[in-house]
């Protein structure tokens, strides 16, 4: 659509990417003092402790694991624990991973597609009943999921979806309250003048969404993708309820078998539990680490230009 071109204003001088600033020219608000480093180092170290302990326990011998006498810093290096999870347990870990990837990816795609549409409408479009609708959106989050679980199970059972991925994936294509609210807040931050101007120039609502709002939404959609991925990746309650066969289970549920014991009072093999936790965590750390580029470092020409 040719109309889109004249609307985009010439970038003002200040919207050049931040990393082009030479250190000497860094704005005060972004200047890191030694105190900044000190605080960040301390906080990171504190926040890093659970991860270190997780590794430490994962590398403990079975004998140490039986005594619960763990150290935060690893003192034993039982790397074979990692192999044990794959071999000794007889669980199809590879299959679990594949299932997780399928469920998490499709869930993220569904959320990104649907919540950008819905969130945009709540942020920008006017309609009678909109505020009421928005309260309903929020209200859906306020009823604990634990209590609607069984009714929802009955519903999906009626649909014949039990023992398939459908109950885990399909609802994501209809967005959820968290993401709708998030997109609404994010889009509300930036001025609507561009879309109004575009409208004057004859661009329809869908055109505005696609040409103007969507491009500036990428950071928030990346965030939604990351949130949905990590949530779906770590969720075992949904899969527990809906999946019965081992070869359909995702990793998070499969790993529950490692913490599970023959008797309720028996302690789990902590070292294998933590190996499982690491296997579950590391891919998501990688996703977050890589996703940062799109979250923060992007030159938001659309976004910056959209702010008056």
């Amino acid at each position: 659509m040719a109309v889109a071109t004249p609307i985009t204003p010439a970038p003002p001088p200040a919207t050049r990417p931040r990393h082009e600033h030479t250190p000497a020219r860094t704005l005060k608000a972004f200047r890191a003092s030694p105190a900044t480093y000190a605080v960040l180092l301390v906080v990171s170290a504190v926040f890093f402790v659970p991860f270190v302990l997780m590794v430490s326990i994962a590398l403990a011998t079975d004998a140490t694991s039986a005594t619960n006498m763990f150290t935060i810093i690893p003192t034993e290096w039982e790397w074979s624990n990692f192999a044990d999870v794959f071999t000794a347990t007889g669980l199809p870990v590879g299959r679990f991973v594949l299932n997780s990837v399928v469920i998490a990816t499709l869930s993220a795609v569904g959320q990104v597609l649907s919540s950008s549409l819905v969130g945009y409408a709540f942020a920008r479009l006017r309609a009678p009943g909109k505020n009421l609708m928005f309260m309903v959106v929020l209200a859906t989050m306020m009823i604990p999921a634990q209590i609607t679980m069984i009714p929802q199970f009955l519903l999906f059972k009626e649909l014949g979806w039990v023992n398939t991925f459908l109950p885990l994936i399909v609802p994501n294509f209809f967005s959820n309250a968290f993401n709708v609210f998030l997109v609404r807040q994010f889009v509300s931050r930036v001025s609507g003048e561009l879309d109004e101007a575009a409208q004057v120039d004859g661009l329809g609502y869908f055109g505005i969404y696609r040409r103007i709002v969507l491009p500036m939404m990428w950071p928030i959609l990346t965030a939604i993708a990351i949130f949905t991925l990590t949530a779906a990746w770590g969720d075992f309650m949904g899969p527990l309820i809906y999946l019965n066969q081992e070869d359909t289970m995702p990793l998070a549920l499969g790993l529950q078998f490692m913490t599970s014991t023959s008797n309720a009072m028996q302690l789990p093999p902590w070292n294998l539990v933590m190996v499982g936790s690491i296997l579950l965590t590391v891919p998501m750390i990688a996703v977050y680490y890589a996703g940062q580029k799109y979250l923060y470092e992007m030159n938001l020409s659309g976004g910056s230009a959209g702010v008056k």
């Binding site: 003002p12 200040a14 919207t15 600033h21 250190p23 860094t26 704005l27 005060k28 200047r31 890191a32 900044t36 960040l40 906080v43 990171s44 926040f47 890093f48 402790v49 659970p50 991860f51 302990l53 935060i72 597609l113 819905v118 409408a121 709540f122 942020a123 479009l125 006017r126 609708m133 929020l138 859906t140 306020m142 604990p144 634990q146 209590i147 609607t148 009714p151 519903l155 294509f173 209809f174 609404r184 807040q185 994010f186 509300s188 931050r189 930036v190 001025s191 003048e193 609502y205 869908f206 928030i220 902590w270 936790s277 579950l280 998501m284 940062q292 979250l295 910056s304 702010v307 008056k308």
Partner: protein, 326 residues
Amino acid sequence: MAVDLGEALGTVRATRSHRAGGRRVPRQKLTRRRKVEARWFWLFISPWLIGFVGFLLGPMVASVYISLTEWDSFTPPTFVGGDNYVRALTEDPVFWQALRNTFFYALVSVPVGLVIGVWLANLLNKQVRGRKLFRTMIYLPTLVPMVATAMVFKMVLAPSGPLNDLLGLVGITGPNWLLDPTWVKPALVVLSAWGAGGATVLLLSAMNGVPKEFYEAAEIDGAGPVRQFWSITFPQITPIIFFNLIMGLIGAFQVFGQVYILTKPVGGPDNASMMMVPLLFREAFSFYQFGYASAIAWLLFVVIIAFTIVAFRTSRRWVFYETEVR
């Protein structure tokens, strides 16, 4: 200086709004346009609407009905009217205890988490060497499974653990945290603060969207970093802070996993850390009293919605949208 800053901002606004053209649209066109706009609104939100009606509304209505019955999830429900609500409000001391505990937890952990989150995000927004690494580290507690975090907390909060050692250095005899009815709730707040880094994702993303020319203008006026934070960064990210506040409240009132995994028995010594959702979970899935559990859920719903409405009301005073949300 405040005036200068305001003027600086005003200048930027003025030029930009001039360029972008007027906001005013001829009156008589509004109604027709509004109709079209409303139609598009419903079209755009239809994914959510279909999902809500299809997957959520039914189960929600069902749970309202269940809350008016006695139901063990196996045998037919017996209609009992408002008995479950009466029981919760007048006969069950644990309900009130759980409600008080949940209030305490939500009203302490949410502000603490927000302050830490904004503070960390502001630090991470600076030109720090290795900030990708720092960001990842600070986000890490959100990614590490709860079971691992709980193990750490059991070590850190042990009676002679590192935290009490630290308190000992300044002459304070630390409590037995998780074993002590008085201290188990603060311990849960500490655990929630541990996850405050999770908020930095959105806050940073929002901070990144603040136009640099604002800061440049402020710089020319000689505003320091603290002043720049309060006059520029903070107002610009209030919608996202508000989002975190609302989500934090909703999440804190429904706190579940932390209580389940950290305190033994669930609810801690003398139910001192029993919260609403663990309570209703126990009623539904351990005691097979689904009707009563559903009633608790709807009472919790009322509490949460009340707090949300209050938050929305006050938000008009401190949340700044570039465009009015209508």
